[in-house]
């Protein structure tokens, strides 16, 4: 690819991203009344989206191959336990991440 072609390709990636981010706001502008179902989705979706994001982060974990997703499972359990115990976001995230790094660098 020439530089111009590369820049056009990047332009397409920008366009695609902008479309996915702006489309809901263009389709349902602030001035007009948003359909009830969309307002409902706006309230119900966030909880579901965070589940989706967790699965998305773990999508390349292979339970049938070595390490079997164990570092992920152990670290997520630790995040949950520490968070339920202390309810401090940064502490929970830091403990889980350090646990995961230790596991993948030394144990697995």
């Amino acid at each position: 690819m020439t530089l111009t072609e590369q820049l056009i390709t990047i332009g397409m990636i920008v366009l695609g991203t902008v479309i996915t981010r702006f489309l809901p706001f263009v389709a349902f502008p602030g001035g007009k009344e948003t359909p009830k179902f969309i307002t409902y989705l706006g309230k119900a979706l966030p909880s579901a989206v965070f589940g989706l994001l967790i699965i998305y982060c773990l999508k390349n974990v292979n339970v049938f191959e070595f390490s079997h997703g164990l570092p992920e499972l152990i670290s997520i359990l630790l995040v949950v336990i520490i968070h339920l115990w202390q309810r401090k976001m940064l502490l929970s995230i830091a403990s889980g991440t350090i646990c995961y790094m230790l596991l993948v660098q030394t144990v697995f």
């Binding site: 690819m1 072609e5 056009i8 390709t9 990047i10 332009g11 397409m12 990636i13 920008v14 366009l15 695609g16 991203t17 902008v18 996915t20 981010r21 489309l23 809901p24 706001f25 349902f28 602030g30 948003t34 179902f37 969309i38 307002t39 409902y40 989705l41 706006g42 309230k43 119900a44 979706l45 966030p46 909880s47 579901a48 989206v49 965070f50 589940g51 989706l52 994001l53 967790i54 699965i55 998305y56 982060c57 999508k59 390349n60 992920e72 670290s75 997520i76 995040v79 949950v80 968070h83 339920l84 976001m89 940064l90 995230i93 889980g96 991440t97 790094m101 596991l103 993948v104 660098q105």
Partner: protein
């Protein structure tokens, strides 16, 4: 309080929420900067994409698009598929971003997974301007991402400390936010559907193709379960 003080206050309130993202984005941005420059692209390429694209997974996928033959329509289609989940963020933020004036354009432009997570769930202090808070969360996130990409692009070949596994910081953050939502909500139907449906779709369709089927199935599930969920949401 003067206008500047109010802005500083919003920045100070926003910053602690973004610390996990600082760690995650510096690491992921550097990984991306190193990847794209080792493929032969100039150091300013990752800087350019981090400013104008600001969508991690699309940028990573963009490396292989740039290495293949010139096919702009395919690049557009692939980006739409990779970033389709952003549609859900927009729908969820329609109310929260209402009446934000000129800031709204940037808030929407910067609506990545991480900015969405914070802006959708953070308890913003009463005396802090909501628009400023969300603007700073988005801006800080993008600055972290640009810094990571720039560092990776320029110094990539010199960096060699063991950061394996640091990307887990983003997973841990989503787990914590999911848990916080769980503890706050009356009905867990949406949370459970959000884990179960994408998991099933992942098993059925595989890692590269499961997002769009998951999204379609989720909208159907939420439509079918509207009555029980609304009882929980509106309380």
């Amino acid at each position: 309080m003067s206008k500047n003080n109010a802005k500083i206050k919003a920045l100070a309130a926003a910053f602690p929420h973004t610390i996990p993202i600082l760690a995650g984005f510096l690491f992921l941005g550097m990984t991306y900067g190193i990847l794209i420059t080792t493929e032969g692209f100039p150091f300013w390429f990752p800087i350019l994409t981090s400013i104008f694209v600001f969508a991690g997974s699309a940028e990573f996928a963009g490396v292989s698009m740039l290495l293949g033959g010139f096919n702009p329509l395919q690049a557009l289609a692939m980006t739409l598929m990779i970033n389709a989940r952003h549609l859900f963020y927009g729908i969820s933020m329609l109310e929260k971003y209402k009446g934000m004036g000129a800031k709204k354009l940037y808030l929407i432009f910067g609506l990545c997974d991480e900015s969405f997570s914070i802006n959708c769930t953070a308890d913003i202090p009463e005396d802090v301007d909501r628009g400023d808070f969300m603007f700073f969360v988005t801006l800080l996130d993008q600055l972290y991402w640009i810094s990571g990409c720039t560092l990776g692009g320029i110094f990539g070949s010199f960096i060699s400390f063991n950061t394996e596994g640091l990307d887990f910081v983003m997973t841990a953050m989503f787990v914590v936010i999911f848990l916080e939502q769980w503890l706050k909500e009356k009905s867990h139907i949406s949370s459970i559907a959000g884990l179960a449906i994408p998991f099933l779709c992942l098993v059925i369709f595989g890692a590269d193709k499961f997002i769009i089927p998951s999204m379609i199935a989720l909208v159907f599930a939420l439509a079918l379960l509207r009555r029980p969920i609304e009882r929980g949401v509106n309380e």
